[in-house]
Symmetry: C3
Subunit: 405 residues, 3 copies
């Protein structure tokens, strides 16, 4: 969309390797590839390594580790093509979850703990919430086999993060800049239920400081189908620290509950780890440039390290900020979460008109760019870009949580 | 029982291969056998191939593919010894489920979606519903560890289709006609719960157009135990099409709900795919020949292709017809379902006297013959046989759904 | 603690083998070690064999079998480091569960059957119940992500028996008596939930008749955390038989419900198998020696075979006796269950002050010695030791079940 060098149309001359395929009956246990085999002319010493994790709840989990010669990151096909973490020199994107393993979906019962079972596997840097539903657990209606409306318990953040990818492929362009792509398909399908298909391409250009996530969600049913999609992007140390800041062009921000309301004046500033911290969640209408793109940033205290996320507010109009500066051992983390909606229960989101529908065969696309900044000048430049979008608009702070549900 | 050539007593001179055994600690990943190795004198070029599926939700699923030299079909030990599909030339038995993978039970949470989780793995040609319970989800009583009666949520169609077989063996008779048998045991056992054992023999004679399913269910407890068993046999294209017909000797047929009642006059005729179609379910008391056997058929519009199912109404007195001529992408399918009961919740079935009990150590046996017909003359002959059973009995059509529950 | 030869500090000169490690990405499928390789000077011909089970619901389950040259026993890393059984010549510790396989956790849905799903995998000699909760299913409160109190359904006996070990290691002391240790770590961790860590060392001295279980439970959260721990130690034939006796120094014993109350006079005597038997559960305050240790025994009718369990009543103040002398095919078994509490629902246990809390970083340790006695003189000696503890205290038998909950 906005990075032509990582467009969805890979060069026809590309290195290809299928790592997983339900159609071909393929599952590669271990594999690696490096620049000298595939792109000997490339100036950056990239490599890709696919392994299978072992032990405990991570037995059998596939992980693909990509090193673009400068930026390293990892993708988890077994957990819905989420991303575990990224690293640029000593700057890590991701967080230290109290969940220490990359948990195999077989060990996650989404319905447990009153619908909060998803939290037993939550440890990723980037995890998708969706697709049939995302957000808070609780009752909502659905249509049964008999065509009747019935009630079901939605579970926190839906299923997609606990569905293994059906197709996974590595592509490396033979033409410079030799873009590296991890392509995957995750099916959220059932009989008498949604037939939603997630197609993802996670790409990086060797030597760059950027990972690009391009998703498309397609409704494979003959009927219209609601869906929800929230990109739960999570950051802990070293970016998150006392004095770190969330920087974004904001039209309006409101607290999700009274607790968050009481602290809204500092919604964009972080404390250090606080034992017993209770999460604070803010809903944001972001402003965008004329092309529809917005830029948001989490920067450290000294403003010389940051992550910048760029996305389209047409695709992802809702931005949730989740502050959870709890003790390190309990998960010191903040979530920056662009989505098609906010993380209220789907019943609430539907009432507020924030549950999109896909017509039969319709596809919607989503793209997020993640860039790692490791110098004061880069951070200042990103801050200026954000400030520029904010120009002419005074952010509106809503001081009380809306009554919903 | 009624096919002496496929009796449960295999020739003592038989080729044997254990593919799975909990007792011997055996699990064969990949294996094959063909006529020239085991029965060089056999005129039919049969072969058997056991493989393990990979990718997505089917990672680790065992499938046994049998080709009898004319008819091919596949058995899924990992999903309770169900049958995925059969094929005779261009005539396929089975259907195109929106569930595209042969789903491993680890990815099925039967309790999800208000007890409809079974639908996340539903893609088979023949899938057993049972054994402790089958049919609709909903509350029913059970006996807890303290000997007290309590309520539990039954889940749609029970557990047996999501329990992997404990013992799987291939047998090929050394004597002509060299019957090929896939023998398996599936245990539905728990402490303070049922101790039900399913023993199955799925057999075919090389060169024939028939698969025979012989099951026995044994109560391994010292107490009597209820059980339910419905053979959910599912057919899509090419047999199912506009103008296809369900042909059976019928004593009485009634609709399961008002929706089905409104369309009962055409209960045995199929439409083509209809987007948004709501299932129609009919309950049938089938007539039988004097030996207790009945024959039912699904035939295509031009009456030159059909599947015929033969079974004993003493063993399986209840026949459910499930019509679901939805859009192709949502599951265009009809189920012909002989059972010990109908698919109401067990609570209802018990009230109506349709939940059989097994005494301690008691075994009940069930047999269904599936024959694939691919000529007008064969179809006409089967129709005549069915008509002959119907002679002297006018089918009774009950026009309103009984009040139950 | 009380067996210096099996202290938690293994000799620095020890044979070491990592079998499973999430940190190192290790999972050894098959391995063995024997005395001649590791301790050629040892007089006892010990060996250790690690295998992976196959077939049915036990596909992929790890089992470590230890033979100390006299006593054999097995440990199940995949099921939370429980112990399947022990054997000294023809005397077996363990029981014949109607669950015939060592069930992989992927096949256990703890929430099923009204929270009794644990019973689908229950077949061990020694299984831990806990750690966040143990005992009866039913509602109890918990704290959600928003810091609010909410209700969840606790499931029977908690999760720990269905969590695979993250780290498993074998150690054999190079110094006599060449103690063999199986060391493991099981994590019961989630985000917005407990961060409890079980560290276990199961050890035996070659040639001895004893297995020692040393556990420590650590709270890895920055907040205090409740926990519960019950050692469900289960015995069937040959020890359990008509006339077998439970022998323990008892301060007070009370029935858990009216059914048990009606039979309290014979609470320590066993019948043979009785079809349709309903469990009888007794709660016991055990007496201890001055050093805090108590000894309890299950002996056979002729008093020449027994198992003796020694533990500290400071660590494990509550002792549950579970009598389930049902038919052999339904599970003829008794449970001797030292615990931090009794198996009421946690809500009840908390009210009665029996749910301990761990401060941040705090560890509590637990140790049980299991000795197999196979002569009348050994049994008499153990009986005398128990009688000695009982001296000066008349056991109090409470004749009615307390009203709780």
């Amino acid at each position: 969309m906005f990075h032509s060098s990582t467009s969805s149309e890979p060069s026809t001359k590309a290195y290809r390797k299928v790592l997983t395929s339900t159609e071909q009956g393929v599952h590669v246990e271990r594999w690696q590839l490096s620049h000298d085999e595939a792109t000997p002319d490339c100036a950056f010493l990239w490599k890709i390594h696919k392994e299978t994790l072992h032990g405990g709840k991570q037995e059998g989990v596939d992980v693909i580790r990509i090193d673009n010669g400068r930026l390293r990151f990892s993708v988890i096909p077994t957990r819905g093509m989420g991303m575990l973490e990224a690293q640029l020199e000593d700057l890590r994107l991701g967080w230290d979850s109290p969940v220490k393993e990359v948990v195999h979906p077989q060990y996650v019962n989404l319905g447990s703990r009153g619908g909060l079972g998803w939290l037993e596997g939550f440890s990723e840097w980037v995890v998708r919430c969706g697709l049939e539903f995302a957000g808070a657990p609780g009752k909502d209606k659905f249509i049964t086999n008999t065509g009747d409306e019935a009630e079901m318990e939605l579970t926190l953040h839906g299923k997609i993060a606990n569905i293994p990818a059906s197709e996974v492929e590595i592509l490396v362009d033979s033409e410079p800049p030799h873009c590296i792509r991890i392509v995957g398909r995750v099916d959220e399908r059932m009989f008498y239920g949604p037939k939603l298909e997630l197609q993802t391409e996670i790409s990086t250009v060797p030597g760059s400081n950027t990972v690009t996530l391009k998703d498309s969600v397609t409704n494979r049913s003959s009927s219209s189908q609601e869906f929800q999609l929230i990109y739960h992007c999570n950051y802990g140390t070293p970016l998150l620290e006392e004095g770190a800041r969330f920087v974004a062009p904001v039209k309006r921000v409101w607290p999700i509950n009274d607790h968050a309301a009481s602290l809204i004046d500092k919604y964009d500033v972080y404390s250090g780890p606080v034992p017993g911290f209770v999460e604070q969640v803010y809903c944001i209408d972001p402003l965008a440039e004329e092309n529809g793109l917005t830029t948001v940033m989490l920067r450290n205290r000294s403003s010389d390290k940051a992550v910048v996320m760029t996305f389209s507010t047409e695709q992802l109009p809702c931005l949730t900020l989740w502050k959870n500066t709890a003790a390190l051992e309990d998960g010191f983390v903040t979530g920056i979460e662009p989505g098609t909606g906010f993380p209220y229960n789907r019943r609430v989101e539907r009432e507020l008109g924030r549950v999109p529908k896909l017509r039969p065969g319709e596809t919607r696309s989503f793209e997020i760019d993640f860039s790692v900044l490791d110098s004061a000048s880069q951070v200042a430049k990103a801050a200026a870009r954000i400030e520029n979008i904010q120009t002419n608009w005074e952010p509106e702070l809503v001081r009380s949580a809306p009554k919903v549900g």
